[in-house]
Symmetry: C2
Subunit: 239 residues, 2 copies
Amino acid sequence: MGVVMSNHPTPDELREALAADNPSAKTKRDLIEAALYHFGHEGYAGTSTRSIAQTAKTNIASIAYHFDGKAGLKRACVNFIAMALGDVLSVIMEKKLADIEHLSPEDARDKIMEMIDRMITFTQTNQRAELVIGFMLKEVLHSPEEIETLYHLIFEPLMDRVTVLFSRATGQPVSSDELKLAIFAMIGQLLYIRLARPLVLKRMNWQSVGPEELEQIKSVLHRSINALLDDLSKGQKDA
Amino acid sequence: MGVVMSNHPTPDELREALAADNPSAKTKRDLIEAALYHFGHEGYAGTSTRSIAQTAKTNIASIAYHFDGKAGLKRACVNFIAMALGDVLSVIMEKKLADIEHLSPEDARDKIMEMIDRMITFTQTNQRAELVIGFMLKEVLHSPEEIETLYHLIFEPLMDRVTVLFSRATGQPVSSDELKLAIFAMIGQLLYIRLARPLVLKRMNWQSVGPEELEQIKSVLHRSINALLDDLSKGQKDA
DNA sequence: ATAATTCAATCAATCGATTGATTTAATGTG
DNA sequence: CACATTAAATCAATCGATTGATTGAATTAT
């Protein structure tokens, strides 16, 4: 009987489990990586456990042994994404919440722009970003349970920080619905321009998104989001 | 042997074929509608032909008979979407290209805002919009051939019109890369706020998106896009 | 009556899961 | 250290269930 990975490991538990130097941890890493690749490209239902095992260079039975089946492997992928995304975002938003609560509007805006820069770079250039986005779009967004996982582990903490930054930069209260929705609008710009890459390449007559194209994207989104911040700041400076 | 529907009917051919009052056309309509429902919710691979047939209240064999198999039904769905989306967009952007090429900046901006309004209403309230978005996200975006279909039938004509409007409203040339990317940013805001609805509801503490919430969304996106247009207009008025 | 359409039944192929044997790693003992 | 014992992990083979497709007969529309 295999020792199946806990269904809901914290990101830290997961990190520890996968970092170990034993055959079990390596196989788990290989399986998650392979599963993420196939799930991201062909979707969960469109991926066979055989192809996952083949990519991971192990036997089909390993999936049941280590993850209690295909569904368990999918859960592990969600947790892995939560972990990996948490790492990326902790780099992107290194400061503690307390540290950003008293920034000047100018400093807050600088921080926002720095954050956007890093997010664009990550989504547009990171290899795994494509898989993660594909996987989340195809599978996670329609699965209430997994949305719950990612919402609390990743999305809400991120949004809380960004909201504080937006609040400092615009003078609007953190509780403002307008502010919250504006942040969705901002994230939408970032993600869509990555997600719709096939359309972007066609429309822009680009062969790929290299350093030059990356700068063009950053430039436009900078302007767009700065304009948004300017507008949100209107009539709020005295608050 | 069944008379299989042409693989690449134009939207008009498709409309005519589906509008007919014979048993064949009705079964085709039912099958496409059922397939769109299942493909949009569970994905192509995750949908069995049996469940499609059951929803459409017909026999499995009808799929092969009318569409030459599951893959053919998927193609028909893409074409159907192209048709339906073309209808919606023709209402949203009724004017001919020539009619908008000489609008004043103010009139152009009004037209843009009117268009955005209608797009938000459609994406946020139309029943089928959810299916279409789900289907395109899960299946079409990773299928080069079907991207080709939708790009030329829907996306490019739409973008061309919007680009002209943006050009008139901002003074920037229609060939401007900045303008084209800004339009992607605008569409990204629209789509993401619909696509990420589960996250939006959680974050905003909304139970659903009713008339009140719709107005809030419109208000924020109006401000955001107006700010973007203002910024793009800077230093271009004299051009 | 002739063609068009639908149907139940069945096909081979593939799916995820499981089995029991086998191999590899870890641990204990002298 | 060498060797034995146990536990952990992997393997080929196989399971029943489900998949998309097909068939030829039955039904319906023209």
